[in-house]
């Protein structure tokens, strides 16, 4: 692990703890935005720039603005304590869950290692033929829009349906 990776990991974990423990909702949202930004950097380190762009734009940008808008309409509780009181029972559950997830970490392959996923038949086909067959320079785009275009079309329709549903529900709420 390089020093950069270590710093980003510590930053992300610190931000996650702050977002979970801070009592003031505004501070928690700001910590959450910083957490998303740190995760975006981790995606870059993991050589997934497409995911990093999404995380930075949606996770750190849009989500933060939407959350800020939401709390602007709520009342902030007056309290002297700056951190939440942690219940022992919740702490046990959270620590146990984190331990289960951490137990899987040693099984992960190194970045760029040859695993069945990266050397499999389908992956090899994409990497060898994507550039000639689809004439685009980004294999991720080639898979998303060409080989898996049907799935992407489905996703677009799902997003469209979701926004239509939200529109109808929120309009009714506004009217009422």
């Amino acid at each position: 692990m390089t020093p950069l990776e270590a710093v980003v990991l510590v930053f992300v974990i610190g931000c996650a703890l702050a977002a979970a423990l801070l009592r003031d909702v505004l501070s928690a949202i700001i910590a959450f935005a910083a957490y998303s930004l740190g995760i975006a950097v981790i995606w870059v380190i993991l050589q997934a720039p497409d995911v990093a762009l999404t995380e930075a734009a949606v996770g750190a940008g849009v989500m933060t603005l939407l959350l800020l808008l939401t709390i602007a309409k709520t009342v902030r509780p007056e309290s002297d304590a700056s951190f939440e009181d942690v219940r022992p029972r919740s702490l046990v559950v959270v620590v146990a869950f984190a331990a289960v997830l951490l137990a899987t970490v040693p099984a992960l392959p190194a970045i760029g290692a040859e695993t069945p996923v990266t050397t499999g038949e389908v992956t090899s086909y994409y990497l060898e033929n994507a550039y000639e067959e689809t004439e685009v320079g980004n294999a991720v785009t080639a898979v998303l829009a060409a080989y898996r275009g049907f799935d992407t079309l489905g996703e677009a329709v799902v997003v469209f349906s979701a926004v239509v549903a939200v529109l109808m529900v929120l309009r009714r709420e506004v009217m009422a």
Binding site: L69, N138, L170
Partner: protein, 163 residues
């Protein structure tokens, strides 16, 4: 222009005052907004050849409107935007994708077969067009959702947090 403003032909500047009169925020947004919009369009158009694509580019481009709303007031930006245009952007995005997908059928191709179109580099331009459609969809969804959460999207409706 909202319906509760007196219709006497005068411009009521007090209704147009920015949400937060912060010179720093307004100047910053005025400076960076063109660059962010350019970045969003670049990511959208260039997604086929580098990192990014319609989804990411659309999200970045949509964020520009959110920035403007935070700097110059949600109400002013909402009045400036046409709700039908935002909803049209969403519909046009998904419609473009569907048209590209279905359009190859009459040209005796398979569903979503870009190479069925009789243009050079059909696959490349087909993918680009689809990416632009996704970008329009995502940008429209983000802008629409933002204003819905903020105020509700009917132009005549007064803001909840204003008297």
């Amino acid at each position: 222009m909202s319906a509760d403003e007196p219709n006497d032909g005068l411009v009521h500047t007090e209704d147009r005052t920015p949400y937060v009169e912060s010179t720093i925020i307004m100047t910053t947004v005025r400076t960076v907004a063109p660059f962010i919009l350019t970045l969003g369009l670049f990511v959208m158009f260039h997604g086929a050849d580098s990192a990014g694509g319609g989804f990411q580019g659309g999200a970045i481009a949509g964020t520009v409107v959110l920035l403007l709303a935070f700097a110059f007031g949600i109400r002013a930006v909402r009045d400036w935007l046409n709700p039908a245009a935002v909803l049209g952007l969403v519909a046009a995005g998904v419609g473009t994708f569907l048209l590209v997908a279905v359009g190859s059928l009459p040209l005796s191709g398979e569903f979503l077969q870009y190479t069925a179109y009789p243009v050079p580099h059909a696959s490349k331009y087909g993918i680009e067009l689809v990416e632009l459609g996704i970008g329009a969809l995502v940008a429209g969804v983000i802008v629409g959702l933002f204003f819905l959460v903020a105020v509700g999207f009917d132009p005549g409706e007064p803001l909840e947090d204003e008297p």
